[in-house]
């Protein structure tokens, strides 16, 4: 079973984690849309730290012999999820960037031609 002091230590860590996210949100360097997945994963971490029995039940259920390994598997899963969503965000930005660049190029040509007529 997880010791009480370790639980306190993890809880303090998670508090710092949330504080960092809220700081980034407050200083507007992080969009709420993209912060949601970080907040969500933080909430799950907090629940697991407060009720470690969940982790134990889960590891028995899927057949992982030590709960800590189940924890690592869960963490890796969430990191993969976050990375994938980052890639999809970048792809969307890339497409928008393409469209903007193309219409900017076409507009610049029109402006150049109009200026010539003046």
């Amino acid at each position: 079973m997880v010791s009480f002091s370790l639980q306190i230590f993890f809880l303090i860590g998670i508090l710092f984690y949330f504080a960092a996210i809220f700081y980034l949100l407050k200083s507007k360097v992080l969009n709420l849309k993209y912060a949601l997945m970080w907040l969500f994963s933080g909430a799950i971490m907090a629940v697991i730290v407060v009720f470690p029995i969940i982790l134990k039940k889960f590891s028995v259920l899927v057949g992982i012999s030590t709960p800590s390994n189940a924890l690592f598997a869960a963490i890796i899963f969430f990191i993969l999820l976050i990375l994938m969503s980052l890639t999809s965000i970048i792809s969307g930005l890339n497409e928008k960037n393409n469209k903007l660049t193309q219409s900017l190029g076409l507009l610049e040509k029109r402006v150049r031609e109009l200026e010539k007529e003046l």
Partner: protein, 242 residues
């Protein structure tokens, strides 16, 4: 090109150019001499050299992209221009001197006759002129077979950037066009939209200046990437153009 062709169609030659200050003037001079009936547009894809100055000082018709998009995004800007200006046929023609504008009439005439929607100028139909290195040909053959396997169109020179399309595909390509290594993917998307694709023989030259967009180092990565793109293209197709 005969008078009938010019009467019926407005033809635009799209010339993507990235760092082609040494070639672009000569390419346009050749084009005007060989195909005076066709209009042209140079897409200066944020060149780091003096391509833009060469275009401006010689009074060439050009679009200046403020950010480098790569060949796909550049050519797509050309299709958007063709759409905006109401051209009925668009020809892609490289700005590095590899393509000979004398073949524009060969690329155009099947489209005018209604025999094809997309025409690809191919080095390998007659096997004349610059044929590329052995390994590159091997790679092109592999991609060609893969495309035939995946979507049933037989095109020998799948990486040829010398091609022409009719109005329908100007509209489609203006709305969606593959970005990174677009030549093989554009063939598949054409096939998926039901294009009649035809190959006509052209003679290509070895490039005379500038650097190819595909260096030898990147060839293997290119093969893997394009093969994957071809395989997953059909199951993931989402039609944006209606």
């Amino acid at each position: 090109m005969n008078a009938v062709i010019t009467q019926h169609s407005k033809i635009l030659v799209i010339i993507p150019a990235c760092n082609e200050e040494l070639n672009i003037k000569r390419v346009i001079d050749n084009l005007r001499k060989e195909a005076p009936e066709a209009d042209y547009i140079i897409i200066n894809d944020c060149s780091k050299d003096k391509t833009r100055e060469v275009c401006r000082n010689n009074g060439l018709n050009y679009i200046d992209l403020p950010v480098n998009l790569g060949i796909g995004g550049g050519v797509q800007a050309g299709y958007q221009y063709a759409l905006e200006k109401g051209y009925s046929i668009a020809i892609q023609h490289d700005g590095d001197g590899q393509h000979d504008p004398a073949y524009i009439k060969d690329v155009v005439s099947p489209i005018i006759d209604g025999k094809a929607d997309i025409v690809i100028g191919s080095r390998f139909v007659n096997g004349e002129g610059f044929q590329s290195s052995y390994f590159r040909r091997l790679g092109i053959n592999l991609l060609s077979s893969l495309i035939e396997l995946c979507c049933g169109v037989r095109v020998k020179d799948v990486t040829s950037g010398y091609r022409g399309v009719n109005r329908k595909f100007i509209e489609i390509y203006a709305a969606e066009y593959a970005q990174d290594y677009p030549e093989p993917e554009a063939i598949i998307s054409g096939a998926m939209y039901g294009a009649k694709i035809m190959e006509v023989p052209v003679v290509m030259h070895e490039r005379t200046g500038g650097t190819s967009s595909i260096s030898a180092w990147k060839s293997i990565y290119y093969m893997i990437k394009v093969s994957l793109a071809i395989i997953i293209y059909r199951p993931t197709l989402r039609r944006r153009y209606q």
